[in-house]
Amino acid sequence: MGDMLKERVAVVTGAGRGIGRGVALGLAAQGAKVVVNDFGVNTDGSAPSTGPAFDVVNEIKAAGGDGIANSDSVATWDGGANIINTAVKHFGRIDILVTCAGILRDRMIFNMSEEEFDSVLAVHLKGTFTCVRHAAPLMREQRFGRIITFSSGSGLFGNPGQANYGSAKAAISGLTKVIARDLGKYGVTANSICPVAATRMTLTPEVMRAREIRKQQGIIREERALNQLEQLHPEDVAPMVTFLASDFARNVNGQFFLCAGGSVSLIALPRPFKTIYKRGRWTLDELDELVPQTLAEGLVNPAPPRAS
């Protein structure tokens, strides 16, 4: 047991499995008391159960740590309130909030149903908001807090078939940037992790099938295929989260980190890198002439038109 988080109280949402479980165990191993929140659903959000949260609490206790299970849904205002209250009620405070809870309902934009969009937004985006919103006043009052949200390369870089998930994850990045500025002066930090790991959410039958096809077609080689996603363990994300939750990271705020196996990268967020400037309003004639040589020069269409 380390002592980086001694006396701290943490809430980890979606902590029953995958990355969240790894984070809960990692925080507990450094001395934090952990509220292990998990609604206990399938990856599409169906069939809630209390089992996964209790299993992780048992693991924490078996390793000599302290934790309590909570099975509320993050997606409702009251659920978020209950989750944060569980920490306050049982451990007296809330110092660390890690929002991992998420589901997946992939579909191309033109076929996506309203329900597929809403359910993914509800868990990821609203679910991050409800927990942050209820933790923020308490952290502000005690002048200490650590908020670590989960964004994703899907939203930051753009993954086809994930208009719901990509929107939600990009929105979480926007939320994180704003709350870092709302809360920083109170000694609270907010940072975000973009994880890459092999979990039940990423290693879906569709993903495995697509990989098999690419392997057969020789697009990826056997040994590389084995070295890819499967080698990125969900537990690999926990050390960086633990660091961000610790006193060592008191001045790390509003930042984004990509975590994949043993690699941790700082992500540069969008900033202007090519600018055209004119006093007054551009005309279309001017833009027609100038944009191809300047702003649009060298731009690559990520999905160029195909002849039908």
Binding site: M4, V178, K185, A296
Partner: protein, 311 residues
């Protein structure tokens, strides 16, 4: 009258006022038949009247252009389908969608109500999804080029204090743009985002106090710093229209999945988020190892945008 959008049909949501109005007028001037969608609501989302959309339709028609008004709420999935159907019914097809409708309800995160969160997300993010979803279906079936231009914001891209709802929605729209550009690019449809800065009735609601607080804390957005250096202090909403119209034209056929900041006469292309510094362990890091390494590696030069203040 230009001819860049001759024969094209455009839907502009929130086209009744401000930036949307400017885009509707210029696209019509370039020959597009325009559906001016506007609920006619207040900045905070309440109320609703037909006059905003009707006025712009009148302006377009009196200039010799083609337009119809629509008053549906973008936040409603079925109503958004009706917006797209309005274009198809009136003009036969849909080529250009501009997701511009928006509201504002600023509040610090620790005081933000569920209702203020939900309302802003519903109009901006869900509204952009709703219209994009129905428009891509239509455009894909048409098997002709399509253009989707959505309004993001530096509030989400850079982070503006007091705008957790708006910043989340607007960065969500940037994410939606990046994903959808990859979903539909192969059908000849492009999807781009503009983060505009302009003086409209919406930005007028940001209190002077909030601006002062942001400045004091040194968390003024890049937008406002750059703005101070402008020769023309007032960023007019109509300044956004030329670049939006350019993106809608054939000239921009290969610009896809990008985000641009437009303020006054300044137009910037933003980089994609990208890993810039990496530390790698052969196996799994320990938190102690990261803590020891971080300051001299990933944490080098990092600036806390809102450092803790002593009481």
């Amino acid at each position: 009258m230009g001819t860049r959008l001759q024969g094209k049909v455009a839907v502009i949501t929130g086209g009744g006022r401000g930036i949307g109005r400017g885009i509707a007028l210029l696209m019509a001037q370039e020959g597009a038949a325009v559906v001016v969608n506007d609920l006619g609501g207040e900045v905070s989302g309440g109320g609703g009247s037909a006059s905003a959309a009707d006025t712009v339709v009148g302006e377009i028609k009196s200039a010799g252009g083609q337009a119809v008004a629509n008053y549906d709420s973008v936040a409603d999935f079925a109503a958004a389908e009706h917006i797209v159907a309005t274009a198809v019914k009136a003009f036969g097809h849909l080529d250009i969608l501009v997701n511009n409708a928006g509201i504002l309800r600023d509040r610090m995160i620790f005081n933000l109500s569920e209702e203020d969160w939900d309302a802003v997300i519903a109009v901006h993010l869900k509204g952009s999804f709703n219209c994009t979803r129905h428009a891509t279906r239509q455009m894909r079936e048409q098997k002709s080029a399509g253009r989707i231009i959505s309004m993001s914001s530096t509030s989400g891209l850079y982070g503006n204090s007091g705008q957790a709802n708006y910043g989340a929605a607007k960065d969500g729209i940037a994410g939606l743009t990046r994903v959808v550009s990859r979903d539909v690019g192969k059908y000849g449809i492009t999807v781009n985002a503009i983060a505009p800065a302009a003086a409209t009735r919406m930005t007028a609601t940001v209190s002077q106090k909030a601006r002062e607080i942001r400045q004091q804390r040194g968390v003024a957005s890049m937008g406002s710093e750059a703005r101070a250096a402008l020769p023309r202090p007032q960023l007019e909403p109509d300044d956004v229209a030329p670049f939006a119209t350019y993106l809608a034209s054939d000239a921009a056929a290969n610009i896809n999945g990008q985000t641009f900041v437009v303020m006054g006469g300044i137009i910037s292309l933003l980089n994609y988020p990208a890993p810039v510094r990496t530390i790698t362990a052969p196996g799994r890091w320990t938190p102690e190892e990261i803590a020891a390494l971080f300051p001299s590696t990933l944490g080098m030069d990092l600036v806390n945008p809102a450092p803790a203040q002593t009481e």
